[in-house]
């Protein structure tokens, strides 16, 4: 389904990686590891199409993602270092605009329901700046509960979460894989995700 062929990435004068390839099938999970600055985030951004690779191709269902356009963007959920939420807006407003950007209409009741499931019941009408770092991360992670995208690209999703939330997130990702979804993720923490075929990709110069 998702296939990377001979990817290379150059940042400034430095070659971060070259000849990097993998193949991810439904139910598969790619765990990208490497030291700080090795190019994990760069790889993830290349995979979701935010920046073009220096060399190589990425294929989704046999087609290069450059030619797929919105068809590929519909299939991808990207969660970066930034939460992509607005401090002035409430959790519910943030959730609804994020959903709208992904082309999905979420009503107030559905949104409240989703926020309750990420453990923010009763806080949905509070401006996000009053929430803690971990709670903000949960608002961002609530996307995982309504997104129909089969490919999840998660950059350090476990950062700022408490242990209960970490195992909850691992369960969510596991359930996604069981349904035939795919996930590419980076993490410095040891997290056990029960289901899915796990692959490791170590980025080394």
């Amino acid at each position: 389904m998702l296939k990377a062929i001979d990817l290379a990435c150059v940042r400034g004068d430095r070659r971060l990686f070259a000849n990097l390839g993998f193949n991810l099938e439904p139910g598969g999970r790619l765990h990208v590891t490497g030291e700080n600055g090795s190019g994990k985030t760069s790889l993830l951004r290349i995979l979701c199409g935010l920046s073009p690779p220096e060399a190589g191709e990425i294929h989704w269902q046999g087609e290069p993602i450059r030619t797929l356009g919105d068809e590929y963007r519909k299939a991808v959920l990207y969660l970066g270092h930034h939460n992509a939420i607005k401090e002035e807006l409430t959790a519910l407003e943030n959730l609804r605009t994020t959903a709208a950007l992904a082309g999905i209409a979420v009503e107030n009741e559905e949104g409240t329901d989703v926020l309750a499931r990420v453990g923010l019941a009763g806080r949905e009408d509070l401006p996000v700046r009053f929430l803690s770092q971990g709670q903000k991360r949960r608002v961002a992670l609530s996307r995982l509960l309504w997104s129909p995208a089969p490919l999840w690209i998660l950059d350090e999703p476990f950062v700022a979460l408490d242990t209960a939330a970490v195992s909850w997130l691992a369960e969510i990702v596991g359930a996604h894989l069981t349904r035939g979804g795919m996930a590419v993720l980076t993490s410095h923490q040891e997290v056990s995700i029960a289901s899915g075929i796990e692959q490791f990709l170590r980025i080394a110069p």
Binding site: Y78, K86, A99, A100, L101, A102, G103, I104, L145
Partner: protein, 238 residues
């Protein structure tokens, strides 16, 4: 927190392309409502700059009438500049811009939504307050009407052109100064035809010619500006 109650979007309705545009515009309006100071800064800047001239020059009605169109328009340009560097900066900093680029909806459409909200928040208030300020310059009713009309056509033009500059200078250190240097020259046609319309009306030549040229510029930039802005944003994110 329950993981078992997963219910992926099968039950959720899809949003049309226009719905996405409206959602982006509504979000930016909501943000402007929560950060009122930013909107007020632009408006107060406009009011104060325009009001300083009559105070400095004194009650020479003839002179004031002559400089009125130019002063009002230059002040509008500078006020529009003030708010430009924040057009994309916040979205860039908090990662929302990445999500916009990754949205299935065309980026150009989302950009139009943002520009629309920017105009409603910073351009429209200038149009509405301009006739009141015009009174300080002893403009008659007709000239004030032309002034409103020229600003009504002209301020969206300022937002559209400014968006290109804001996208090109996104993430650049000292981008604010660069933005002014880049955008102000592009504002010159709007200034010439906008201020020219009011001047032509005062001197009895009729403003129709200037206004139609201004409208033509608006139509042209409606088409090209979102496209150029989109290209600029993609470069900034790479």
């Amino acid at each position: 927190m329950k993981a078992d109650a997963l219910n992926p979007a099968s039950s959720l309705a899809e949003l049309g392309t226009l719905g996405v545009l409206v959602a982006v515009a509504r979000r930016d309006l909501l943000l402007a409502l929560r950060r009122k100071s930013e909107v007020m800064t632009v408006l107060f800047f406009f009011v104060i700059v325009v009001s300083l001239f009559p105070l400095g020059i004194g009650p020479e009605m003839g002179l004031l009438r002559t400089i009125a169109p130019g002063v009002l328009w230059v002040a509008a340009l500078l006020a529009a500049m003030l708010s430009l560097n924040r057009l994309f900066a916040a979205d860039y900093a908090d990662g929302t811009l990445e999500q916009m680029v990754l949205s299935p909806a065309p980026l150009g459409l989302l950009v139009i939504g943002k520009i629309l909200a920017h105009w409603l928040v910073t351009g429209l208030p200038l149009v509405l307050i301009a006739p009141v300020l015009g009174l300080q310059y002893d403009l008659d009713g007709r000239a004030l009407g032309v002034l409103i009309l020229s600003l009504l056509i002209g301020t969206p033009l300022l937002s559209l052109i400014g968006a290109i500059g804001a996208a090109l200078t996104l993430g650049v250190r000292g981008g604010g100064v660069l933005l002014s240097l880049l955008t102000l020259p592009l504002y010159i046609p709007a200034l010439i035809f906008g201020a020219g319309a009011v001047e032509a009306d005062i001197s009895g030549l009729g403003a129709a010619g200037h206004l139609s040229l201004l409208a033509a510029l608006l139509a042209l930039s409606c088409f090209f500006a979102p496209w150029a802005t989109t290209a600029g944003l993609r470069i900034a994110l790479e």
